[in-house]
């Protein structure tokens, strides 16, 4: 097995989950309705738990302990796409991000369920069932608010146009794409993206929203290589504050 390629894949997936999980958790206590407050908190808990399981696979491949990986790196050592680190903004942005990201995530884990790297395949079979609920949740609200009234439609439309170039950044290719494909570990970012475009288009067509022409969009890349917006480091500082006080503490 191509260990450097697998590590690369695991890092970007785990970092996406951890960072978006923490962003989602910022809705705790602030959701527009209690139900949404609980939904974003639950999804945060799922995602942070999933990131820990992915960091555990990295640990088994010789990397540091999950908590050490999660809490002691700086922004330039993180491989999450920039979409996940953006501040939660207004509810419409968080909903659109959740919709765009989780569709990609579900496809990724569905594909990884057949990976020849068995530990990841096992975990993917488990995680895809959980992410399915996240996608269901996003679809329900996109359909409802994407057809509701002028204000909700125009807010979602603006957020969609803002978020899409970042969403394309999810599929930034790494140095190991070919190795991952030829070894049957992962079918590659392009494969995920093609399926993703199909699925989100189907959903958007059921609403009053319009999907811009993808070929006119400039994807925001860099996240996978450790290039981030100014929003990531403050989030990491906040996340790791407790851990850094006493890294040896048992929780």
């Amino acid at each position: 097995m191509n260990t450097p390629a697998i590590k690369d894949l695991l890092y970007k997936m785990a970092d996406d989950q951890l960072i978006l999980g923490h962003r989602n958790s910022e809705w705790t206590g602030f959701g527009p309705v209690l139900e949404e407050d609980i939904a974003f908190s639950s999804m945060a808990q799922d995602k942070i738990g999933q990131s820990q399981a992915l960091y555990q696979l990295l640990h088994e491949l010789g990397e540091a302990e999950p908590d050490t990986i999660a809490f002691t790196r700086n922004a330039e050592q993180f491989h999450n796409c920039q979409l996940t680190e953006l501040p939660i903004g207004e509810y419409d942005f968080s909903l659109i991000r959740h919709f765009l990201f989780d569709h990609a995530e579900l496809i990724r884990f569905e594909m990884l369920a057949n990976s020849r790297y068995e530990p990841l395949a096992q975990l993917a079979r488990k995680i895809k069932g959980e992410i399915k609920y996240h996608v269901m949740h996003a679809n329900t609200w996109i359909k409802q608010l994407g057809n509701a009234n002028e204000e909700s439609i125009s807010r979602l439309q603006n957020s969609l146009e803002y978020a899409l170039p970042y969403a394309l950044g999810i599929f930034e290719e790494g140095a190991h794409e070919e190795a991952l494909q030829s070894e049957g570990i992962f079918p590659g970012e392009k494969a995920v993206m093609e399926e993703w475009k199909k699925r989100i288009s189907e959903r958007i067509e059921q609403t009053a929203l319009r999907l811009p022409d993808f070929s006119q969009l400039q994807p925001v890349y860099g996240g996978r290589k450790g290039q981030h917006s100014e929003h990531l480091q403050p989030l990491l500082d906040e996340m790791s504050e407790v851990f850094r006080i006493d890294p040896t503490a048992e929780w």
Partner: protein, 161 residues
């Protein structure tokens, strides 16, 4: 002192899901393997219901504690995803226990959960199927929230996964 697998499984009946104290880990289906090694050491394999389930650590130490109480000194509990848990693994006894607890048991599924199986869930209060899903995210990761049009009660379901 040698133990049989059946004895171990029987003793583990005492270990309950901390979030649903009427449900044993056996009935929940999260004990995926028990082996008694030649040196008397006992190995228990477990898998979490949800990857981010915070209860798994409690369950793990409860398993050790209960077995220690029965004199099993050397216990290794391994948590893995070798067997991936799904809600079909809850036993019939477990499903009844959930109902008695006021929690609708998860509908059996073919491992592909679609939105429609979350609609018209049987109300644990009155038995009606005239219900709808309010939100797939409840007070814990494993519960969804539903509303019954007949008895007008809101109820929770252990959600299918």
């Amino acid at each position: 002192m040698a133990y049989t697998e059946e004895e171990i499984r029987h003793w583990l009946e005492e270990v309950k899901d901390p979030e649903i104290p009427v449900l044993s880990l056996n009935d929940l289906g999260v004990i995926t393997g028990i082996s008694v090694l030649e040196n008397g050491k006992v190995k228990v394999e477990m898998t979490p219901t949800f990857v981010g389930c915070p209860a798994i650590d409690y369950m793990k130490s409860d398993v050790k504690e209960v077995l220690a109480k029965h004199g099993v000194e050397e216990v290794e509990v391994r948590v893995s995803f070798d067997t991936q848990w799904n809600s079909n693994m809850i036993s019939e006894k477990g499903r009844q226990a959930l109902k008695d607890f006021g929690l609708a048991p998860p509908p059996k599924h073919n491992l592909i959960v679609e939105l429609d199986i979350l609609e018209e869930v049987e109300c644990p209060n009155c038995g009606s199927h005239n219900t709808d899903l309010k939100t797939p995210f409840g007070p814990t990761l494993c519960r969804s929230i539903h509303h019954c049009f007949d008895c007008k009660e809101t109820f929770e379901q252990f959600k299918p996964i």
